[in-house]
Amino acid sequence: MTEPRGGRGASKPRRRNVARAVLGVLGELLITAGVGVLLFLGWSLWFNDLVVGNKLHEESLEQAQAWERDEAGAAHGTPQDPPVLGAPDSTERFGLMIVPRWGADYYRPIAEGVGTAAVLNKGQIGHYPKSQMPGAVGNFAVAAHRTSYGKPFNQISSLSVGDHVYVETADGWYLYVFRNLEYVQPTAIGVIAEVPQSAAATPEDRFMTMTSCNPLFSSAERIIAYSVFDRFYPRAGGPPDDIAATVAGVS
């Protein structure tokens, strides 16, 4: 009850003033923190999302032009007997994805591996290392974010039967045709099996599995999109008509 300085009459108002000042600073700090959290959300869901998306679109165009310029494509490969790339190094970008349903400006890199920090959080589409490469008999399985980081698979639920999903490599364009969606538990590794959901079966067809999170902004489930291989377009013959604008960078 004793104050080091000041008389009895002065101690009570002064203590009340100190308490008010402390509360005032605390309140301002809390408001500042709240604004900071909102800014972070805006950065994550909108600003960084746009920046990463635009950057990856640019880099995809540059990659495609480099392949075109270097005539990097293999001379072999026919529409029904596509060339198959060897296993890439971890985190190496070996392909690009084009989906006309998602707009002419949808052009995103595919990198080896599904590590969060190394691949997916850079906005890339990640290839499950144990799954097959594009065009191979078996399953070409990839994962990507559905929200934030350029959200490559944001529109995954908009795919409808017959939609074209192209995978571009140095060799050319692999056309996969979308079949169906499936919603599964996060542990359902059967979706990336060589024959999806049939681990014991011997693969004869060429599948593609795309996995992303479901519902939006949640990790509770996974949304899966299955496609089947239709044909291969060698680079020498140029891109098919429905993706010509995307490859040329006109959108």
Partner: protein, 52 residues
């Protein structure tokens, strides 16, 4: 806190306001360039993969 900042700043009110706007812009730029990308590493990612 902010009242004290206002008192510490020199000049007439419009100079103080200008300084505050510049300070706020600087803080925002620092957040976008360094602070938010740093914090982002510790935010649990929304997992898009099936566990292989």
């Amino acid at each position: 806190m902010y009242a004290a900042l206002w008192r510490i700043l020199p000049g007439p009110w419009w100079v103080r306001a200008l300084i505050l706007v510049i300070l706020f812009a600087a803080v925002l730029v620092a957040c976008v360039l360094w602070v938010f990308p740093f914090i982002d590493q510790f935010v649990a990612p929304i997992d898009s993969t099936v566990d292989a």
